[in-house]
Amino acid sequence: MTKRRMFLRMITASLLRRRSRMLIALLSIAVGATILSGLVTIYIDVPRQMGAQFRSYGANMILLPKEGTHMTAESLQEVLGVIPEAEIVGASPYRYVRLDMPSRQQSFITAGTEFSQVQKTSPYFSVEGAYPEKTREVLVGKEIAETLGIKTGSSIELHYKTSGTAGQGQAADAAAGETLTGSAEGFNKVIVTADLVLDEEGKIASVSVDAASQTPGIGSLVGTDRQFLDQFIGKKLPLSLSNTASGEDAADEDHVVDAVTGATISSQAAVDAMNNAVLSGEAAPVERAEQFTVTGILSTGGEEEGYVYMSLPDLEKLTADNAVDVAELSVTADAEVLEEYCRAVSEANPDVTARLVKRVTRSEASVLGKLQALVFLVTVVVLLLTMICVSTTMLAVVSERRREIGLRKALGAADNSIRKEFLGEGLFLGGLGGLIGAALGFGFAQVVSVNVFGSSISFQPLLLPVTVLVSMVIAAVSCQMPIKRAVAIDPAIVLKGE
């Protein structure tokens, strides 16, 4: 029998024969290792998991188009590409437009958005009823609902209007020589359109009116009567009719024209159409209406309760454009990383500015930092105490074997071989206990993660060798003292039992 085999046999024999005691030592190490691997796994994973919980505070980043540019849902998707998809909790585009509700003579800010994303970026929205799923369904803020007595299932008609004044502003900005187009309601509410060109001083250079829809021979003259049309040349916008203008306006030669006799309404329509004129190709003043079903009442405790929410495509249908005013993003990352994303977004699309919602990012950093420190300290304290507990148990188990050591010494065993044997035993127990503990600890961390955060935890491969190693070191260290004491003592005294 070789020396090595003898050594192995001694260790295994001692482990097997002294089952109950070794079981205690093993159990103690396994408990320590479980706590070690469990707590460390949790500690590593807590920032990620807790960070996800903090997303319930809503968006921490907003994207805005730079002044004078437009953002669309498509350009938004493009920009989002620079942020890792796994970190984006949600991204809600918003388009705010004021819509009228003529039946109640009210108007409210209406937000077009994507409801599936809103539920992610604003999980605190509380909807009585349901989020809209189909087209022509809306969510109404609680304040509006209470004031107007709107309930889930109610039907409301919303109107979108562009006013003529918006056109005027654009006409003033238009370059000389460009054709401007405008329209207005004439007699019998039929549309009259006008095209005009301005010179460098903003004076009308040429004009044509399409009034074929008006009463033939009376209203239609507005489009054909040269005397009526020629008087516009050299005038400035806005225009008014001499028989409706009063006071100073009437005397203002630059802005007043005479109506076609007997066709005041059509003349007024032609003047309005010119006042409304915008760059051709732009939308003329319009009014579109749509019926909507209310699927839910929104309460948030904030100003959102005064808004109406509908899907972006519905709002696009009303406004006939696909602009997005702002996008709210909820990203699981800390403030520093978020700042980086902000820069990356601006680089990817210079027309988009990304800004952090300071209230959320700042507060999150401070609270999350505290929570992490809490878990860290708890982990350290628990580990420290547990490890000392493990050593005391090992100490007790080994001390008990003083007699055996004495006997072996009396039989002529060298101090070194005794030390080696006990150390081997300790290391074996440490390794085995560490393995068991690492598995149990991961199980514990998994239970915690699933129960607390509702998601599974990622396995930290490095933690397995670390746990085993730490357990072995602790077992070996705690064996040292009792062995040293036992070896130092005269075998005769030990055997005598004193």
């Binding site: 405790g301 809490l374 005391t392 148990t393 008990e400 607390v452």
Partner: protein, 431 residues
């Protein structure tokens, strides 16, 4: 005789007993520390979450949507509704007054600037000193409720200084646009009068506030001739996460049974606090800011559950650690037990003697461990939250029961096992 034996063991085998006592000290301190931290972590984290700002807003009951939704500017004399500034201290008289951490009033107006443009001016308290009828002293204001604002130039207005009455704080974007610096005098014209004020601070709020002016409440009241009036109040309160009862109550408190109502009213649910604020302040309507209130609930629940599970793990660890060692120490004494048996001691008396020895050790270790554990809790409280962890009396019986149970569970089976062995075998040294 018993006393003498126990004293003998404690004295002669003090190294072994010390080891047991030491382990029990560690186990107890672990249990005490974790339980104390676990029960206090809710309050502490709740306190931290106050950095997110107010969780309740109070508005006049009849405040219509007018200014909010229809863009009707102030001064157009539509039926405007206000709260009274003098009612504010009443917030600290409600049932959950102690949970109201901070509050501040707001009064908004449009001020015309000398260059012909308008800017939104918000009157508020900065660090308003209140002496309550209850004798309590308190500083309330936005300095504590806008923790995310960076004061990039100057300082927060200090209302205790006389110069504060004619000072304002300006948002960074507005200051940049107008070229204002700290110490500049600006002229503000409100609907009632024109005043000059000194720019005392420039802040970066990262939101719409950056285009606004924040001024002392009195200044805005004088500017628009609305003495003693307030638009809205923001309240920051410590609350208990909502449960099913709170949700039912929030819809309609009067629909609750009287018992449920009492439970609800006497729990710090955000809806209960809102309800009490409405009772205390005439003509007020208080609503929870869901973004803050709801998220607070989620995070508090999660943190508490996390701490509960970690505590459970440490308790199991401590329990196994102690019972392991006790078992080991009993088995170690097999020779002594065999000897006692050989000279005719009855099993019951042997068990009794050993149990008493161990329990006395456990008592000593437990008491020491309790205080050590409390120290650990304070260490965690001070270094993480900068405040002491409250001593919870309910921890004592729990820890006492745990230690007793664990010591018994660790020693009894071991003693019985050793007793089952034949004295001759034990004394002979065989296993």
């Amino acid at each position: 005789m018993l006393f003498k034996m126990i004293r003998g063991v404690l004295y002669h085998q003090r190294a072994k007993m010390l080891l047991i006592a030491f382990t029990i000290v560690l186990g107890t301190s672990l249990a005490t520390g974790m339980l104390n931290v676990m029960w206090d972590v809710g309050d502490k984290v709740n306190q931290e979450l106050k950095t997110y700002g107010a969780n309740i807003t109070v508005k006049p009951k009849d405040a219509s949507l007018l200014t909010d939704i229809y863009d009707v500017g102030e001064g157009e004399q539509l039926s405007e509704a206000y709260l009274n500034e003098e009612d504010l201290p009443k917030l600290k008289t409600i049932f959950w007054a102690f949970n109201i951490v901070d509050f501040t009033p707001f009064l908004e107006a449009d001020a015309s600037l000398p260059d012909g443009t308008d800017a939104k001016i918000v009157g508020t308290w900065f660090n308003h000193h209140l002496s309550l009828p209850t004798g309590e002293e308190l500083d309330a204001g936005i300095a504590g409720m806008r923790s995310w604002w960076d004061v990039t130039g100057g300082n927060w207005l200090d209302e205790s200084e006389p110069s504060a009455a004619s000072s304002v704080m300006v948002g960074t974007l507005l200051a940049e646009e107008k070229g204002w610096k700290i110490g500049d005098e600006i002229t503000l014209a409100g609907s009632a009068k024109e005043m000059t004020a000194t720019v005392a601070g420039i802040y970066d709020a990262g939101g719409d506030e950056d285009l606004e002016i924040y001024a002392p409440l009195d200044l805005v009241q004088a500017l628009t001739d609305r003495e003693g009036k307030v638009d809205r109040i923001e309240v920051s309160a410590l609350t208990t996460p909502d449960n099913e009862l709170a949700q039912r109550a929030a819809k309609n408190p009067s629909a609750l049974s009287s018992r449920d109502y009492e439970t609800w009213y006497c729990t710090a649910y955000v809806s209960a606090i809102c309800y009490q604020i409405q009772e205390a302040i005439p003509n007020a309507s208080a609503a929870a800011v869901r973004q803050v209130a709801e998220s607070e609930g989620t995070i508090l629940d999660k943190t508490q559950l996390l701490m509960l599970l970690i505590t459970a793990l440490s308790l199991i660890g401590a329990a196994l650690g102690i019972s392991n060692l006790v078992t080991a120490s009993v088995m170690e004494r097999s020779m002594e037990i065999g000897l006692l048996k050989a000279i005719g001691a009855r099993d019951r008396s042997i068990t009794f003697v050993i149990m008493v020895e161990i329990l006395v050790t456990a008592l000593i270790g437990g008491v020491a461990g309790y205080f050590l554990g409390f120290g650990f809790a304070q260490l965690i409280g001070q270094s993480v939250f900068g405040s002491a962890i409250e001593m919870k009396l309910k921890v004592i019986p729990i820890v006492a029961a745990l230690i007793t149970l664990v010591t018994l569970a660790g020693s009894l089976p071991a003693i019985r096992m050793v007793l089952r062995l034949r004295p001759a075998e034990v004394l002979h040294g065989g296993q």
